[in-house]
Amino acid sequence: MSLDQLTITRVGDRVEHADQGEMVLNMGPQHPSTHGVINFVVHADGEVMKRAIPQVGYLHRAIEKIGEIVTYNGFMPYTDRVDYLAAMFANEGYAIAVEKLMGLQVPPRAQYLRAISCELNRIASHLVSIGTMAMDIGAVTPFPYALRERESINDLIEALCGARLTYNYHRIGGVAFDMPDDWIPLCRKWLDHFDKTLDEWDRLISRNEIFVQRLAGLAVVPAAMAIDYGLVGPNLRASGVDFDLRRDHPYGAYADFKFEVPIGKGYAGARAGGKVGDSYDRFYCRVLECRESVRITRQACDKLPGGEFMAKVPKKIRPEAWSEAQSRIEAARGEMAYYVVSDGGERPYRVRARTGSYLAMGIIEDLSRGLMIADLVALIASLDVVAPEIDR
């Protein structure tokens, strides 16, 4: 047996031969920084990788199959688990799809409540993303800061719906509970505090020389490549594509709000080698999105209308036979699309959740050629992939 056949990685049906001098490593599934249980089979020549083959499926819970067994209403808690870091979006996407099927009109107060809870959840999700990214790069301190802010968001949302992580708050036709009376002043106070915290973050890590040097110019994704590979959300915007579902195809209450959409501009600066679509852009777009979410939440709190928080929904939800609907929402990790097919019964015929992280995994293998192992960690963190969204 020749030496170059000595190490063979069997990755599914694809047999990868390791070249002479290459080391084959398993990064994951238990690893401190793969953002959930994801495995990477890395062929490395020293520190430089030749290939990094992702293997997913460790968190596959057959949520789409369960969608065919439970009723329309009963599926709502399962959508929380599609992405438990940004569960409000998953709730909302499914609710909008079924409301389309049933032709329900959601009352305006419910839409505002949905927008407020979603934007708070977006901030919470981005905080985790930024915190873990800093931790993966080595600065442990920003992560507890992020969690500290997230505690306040969790408290606010707990007052709304009773849960801190898997909310089950949006229901088909509206939201489950109304807002408590003293909620809005608390929210406003926290938003004022959070603005200053974001400035503190900027001073701590965004402008830190080592942080910038680690991320600037890393894994540049040009706009055409981002669209081709199907990147969505902050990943897409960081590559320079000016697209945000909240502004371009507004759903819910988003048509009433004024906000900017941050796109990548090479924020790391020319001196550090920053380019449009590098990892630093993806990171910084998320920080800027936090600021925009704060603006949206303030506007929503100011303009919150009164009225019903739930539409009149029939007891048994039975859409018309063989109708289907797709809803698209701008989740924290990108565009989440729910595709629901109904066969006329009270259980869906097919529920499909197309998430942003799943598509982002497809680009990692092609981006990781020639990177170093430390860079792979930074790349995964900058794409903000989470295992529950990939595996469902």
Partner: protein, 424 residues
Amino acid sequence: MKELLDKIVLERLGHDPATWPLTQGVYLAAMLLVAVLLVTFGAVFAGIVSWWERRVAGRMQSRIGPNRVGPGGFLQWIADALKLILKEDLIPDESDKVLFRLAPYFVIVGFLLTFVVLPFGYHLSATNMNVGLFYVVSITALVVVGILISGWASNSKWALFGGIRAAAQVVSYEIPAGLVILVPIMMAGSLNMHDIIRAQGGNPWNWFMFQTPMGFAAFFVLFTSLLAEGNRTPFDLPEAESEIVAGYNTEYSGMRFAYFFLAEWGNLWVMSAILTTLFLGGWQVPFLDSRLRMWEAAGPGNVPAWFYLLSAGVFALKTLILVNVVIWIRWTFPRIRVDQMMSLCWKYLVPIAMGLVVLTAVNELVSFQIWGPKAQEPVGLSHPRGWIHFAWFAVGGLLPLVAFAMKTRRNIALTGDRVDLTNW
């Protein structure tokens, strides 16, 4: 110390030290005693600084840190040490068993042997080697052997990564470290640690760090290099938790794991002690320079006992301040990448260190021309050389300190916070 021991043999035991056959036994007993003291100091300091680091890290991260075991969590390190000692000694089946067992001892020995020459105060150190500084630099090279062996013997690819990164890093950063310690050596004219301290004065403007701009730059170059040698963030690539799980100590558990971390925390003291000796005036007490010279001129044995203690206290204070700065840096900065680390060393630190050596040599030659043969002795403010030193101190020490304090106050005010020291 030999004179002291001879005096004890003569006066207390009543034998002539030159002829008594058991004199060597007395020497041996004394050496063992000193060794035990030093090892205890190293280990206890490592334990205590582990507690301190965890508390400081906790406060920096808006959380508390250990606070259950003992007052303020002070006994946490004893609990951890006990736990690690009592743990099962796991040795991976496919590892190289002999080398796996041997590796921590290289690291610990390399770390503990540096204590032999470290000064602790006025005339307080285990030995007074003429080549003390050279000895320190060479003995710390033993640590990298241990890390490399542990990475290899673990028979795990992640451990191998850590070992190789460590080897590259530590060996590379020994070059600028070795070059830049020539700066205080030239300024003092000796390799002896105590002589280097004597060549500085007690007041900050007489420290090597503030005497000349080369000393100032050399301090930072040495600081960076010693951080890299000690595997502290931002140079903790060999044990980067988020990339290679735990690097070279992935497969280690129990007391062997404790040895590695003992060496790392204890190295904080060694690092800071070297920096204090070379650049911050060592055990010299401010404002007592002239008194010390007076006492020494009057003959040996004239220096009061409280001065010994005070000098030890001053040395410890300066060292602990530096230890805190290292801890502060660890919990603030991210980690740099391997190629960035190598390019920092070879493309930046080595040329800078060489330049500093050349400039210092020129400076000393010119200094000897101008001020004559006594150009290297510490002087007060009455002497014109003292004014030059004070001017550099004002620019290099006072100005940055004031600017830093103002910026910190501004940052705190911007966050909407206040300085609240009761919240410990």
